[in-house]
Subunit: 426 residues, 2 copies
Amino acid sequence: MVDKLHTKYLLSEDQIPRAWYNIVPDLPRPPEPVLHPGTKQPVTPDDLAPLFPMALIMQEVSAEPYIEIPDPIRQIYKLWRPSPLFRARRLEKALDTPARIYYKYEGVSPVGSHKINTSTAQVFYNKQEGVKKISTETGAGQWGSALALAGAFFGVEIEVFMVKVSYQQKPYRRNMMETYGASIHASPSNLTNAGRSILAKDPENPGSLGIAISEAVEVAATSGGTIKYSLGSVLNHVLLHQTVIGEEALLQMALADDYPDVVIGCAGGGSNMSGLIFPFIGEARKKGLKTRFLAAEPMSCPSLTRGVYAYDFGDTIGMTPLVKMHTLGHDFMPPSIHAGGLRYHGMSPLVSLLHEEGILEAQAYHQISVFEAKEAGQERVILFNLSGHGHFDMAAYEAYFAGKLQDFEYPAEAVAAAQQRMPQVV
Amino acid sequence: MVDKLHTKYLLSEDQIPRAWYNIVPDLPRPPEPVLHPGTKQPVTPDDLAPLFPMALIMQEVSAEPYIEIPDPIRQIYKLWRPSPLFRARRLEKALDTPARIYYKYEGVSPVGSHKINTSTAQVFYNKQEGVKKISTETGAGQWGSALALAGAFFGVEIEVFMVKVSYQQKPYRRNMMETYGASIHASPSNLTNAGRSILAKDPENPGSLGIAISEAVEVAATSGGTIKYSLGSVLNHVLLHQTVIGEEALLQMALADDYPDVVIGCAGGGSNMSGLIFPFIGEARKKGLKTRFLAAEPMSCPSLTRGVYAYDFGDTIGMTPLVKMHTLGHDFMPPSIHAGGLRYHGMSPLVSLLHEEGILEAQAYHQISVFEAKEAGQERVILFNLSGHGHFDMAAYEAYFAGKLQDFEYPAEAVAAAQQRMPQVV
């Protein structure tokens, strides 16, 4: 029996997972193939080679149940892993609930979020294949700073296209990326055809994650092979690298002598949630458990609950391969909410498939209700992922306390129109 | 032999110290008494009772070598303790130095700094003696947020006087304190005689830590016993609570199979530095080691290197008892540098005595040179304390990258004038 006030469950460093968990063999059916945007035929690894190193492409399509974590990556993981798992006793008390609430906390990493679990791995594999420079996009800067630090670890140059409104309004994350040595551009920029075409139509365009992806992909695709591209969520290999979160949480729930009835994650592109949930889905399948899995997403950009499950581009301009996912339409412009990373038109294909198959439930929430939320519940065991410390999003608290935080209605018409412009795949 | 890439040294929760280390019995001579500002005679515990609970007053004057940490405090410490100790291998490489550099990292606490080590203890003892409300001051908000969270832990109301320039320019820490339920006033305020007297002379006064202390002390002293006062640094009992840092670091250096030749801390009031260094001073004394101890302080407010060692007030207005310390003069107004907590006219009496006795060296630095610093050195083992994550001070990085960060010459004349206005104690 654990001490009543004992609230933190720690692992030793030799319990950092030695392999990432790959959910693909545990899916009820194989993932849908990624399609070439021109031919609409399944892409080959060679089609993806201009963007990614081959090791990551092989992880993207792997059906192996576990993929070994190379030792240099595990050594770097030791800077912040294993991350703590907490029992949120004060939250239970504040909610006056009989539920037992646990959370895994990824905010202890040097960049303050889970993103560095995959940026470290991605830069490692790029470095191994001789890549000297990587381009990427970032919303509020969380992913960009994680890739920037990983670039500094391995001596790989990092170029970041940062959504313009965040570039202007959130200088701290930008300063952090600069401190780590990355170069940053406000997106849309004049540096790419994608950026110029957006600015020609709308010089005041505030940017979006989809546009920044178009710019970063273009930089890599037109570099003649000298620059690769890196994405911070959505793709299979990105979610794979995050499974260290759930693998550790499984060990820590055992330390707590408890097991979750419900596992919850917040979902933008899906990576932090999948990192926690996937190993628990594997466990449920292996042991026949009836664990519930729940995705929470923003009402202003509810791809999983309101999007269609269809082939769509990953970026706004339409440069990327087509992936089957829940999408609001690749050129849908989500309203500006404080959580920049949640403003993305699509959802990870693996997460989408799990939702389509009824394994993962989803619910959309308005942001103000999230700040106000205090509810009593039933006796059950809840586990969620607190993916970052949020120190650079404190402006949202200021707006909330000042009564200035706004909710945005779900923009049904804009989504319907954007979905009309999606690529047609028979 | 440790793994070459192994950079983090962890302890288990049962290695959280069970007692705080009190340096007083290990000092070369007893601390100078605290004097009553009117009579200039040593104060009695009863003189301090309007401001502090008796348990903390007893710790302030204790000569016991160890003071047991009550179990409820240790249970709360488990939320962030033991904190990690890192070997800074990448810094060693960047400096191209044969030195081995270690740092203890206190930024993993929920408020992001070491301050919560003492705020938790202070609120606990206040609560035990029935106190329902505590007043305090804060510069940029680090101490205020630590006390606010501790207040929330124990259900004690917290009222914070925040230096006005920070209140206006650093809303994130203020939002954090509000989130924890504290009430915050910009200082100088119209709520106290101290604040009103400053505003009468200078309505645009930007505030200082010394003024905010005057306001918070006045609120407690004039409350008829319903409100106590709490200080985040300087006093003996505050430094005592921070010694968990150094006690853990001693165990962790043993894990690393190494021992520091030099232990370094940055010093504003002295609490984070003392927390790390004091247990190593005790160890050096016990074992006859020749460890060097070094305080780094800002050139713009260099109390230890340029101040006089004399009796002075702890606040600007002159309401507190007189303490013997290195001081620039209690009404000296330091120039506005980014690190608000380092803008204090005095230095902890215990730290001052150690410096006076030649046990602790001190050096003052300009802030720009700190951002630029990259130097090669000799082979030796260096340990320092990284007392917080600095996420709310990223504006200083922005100013530095933009070439807008300013250094301030040491204001010798202003200090000399302020020192003329100090109380005369024969």
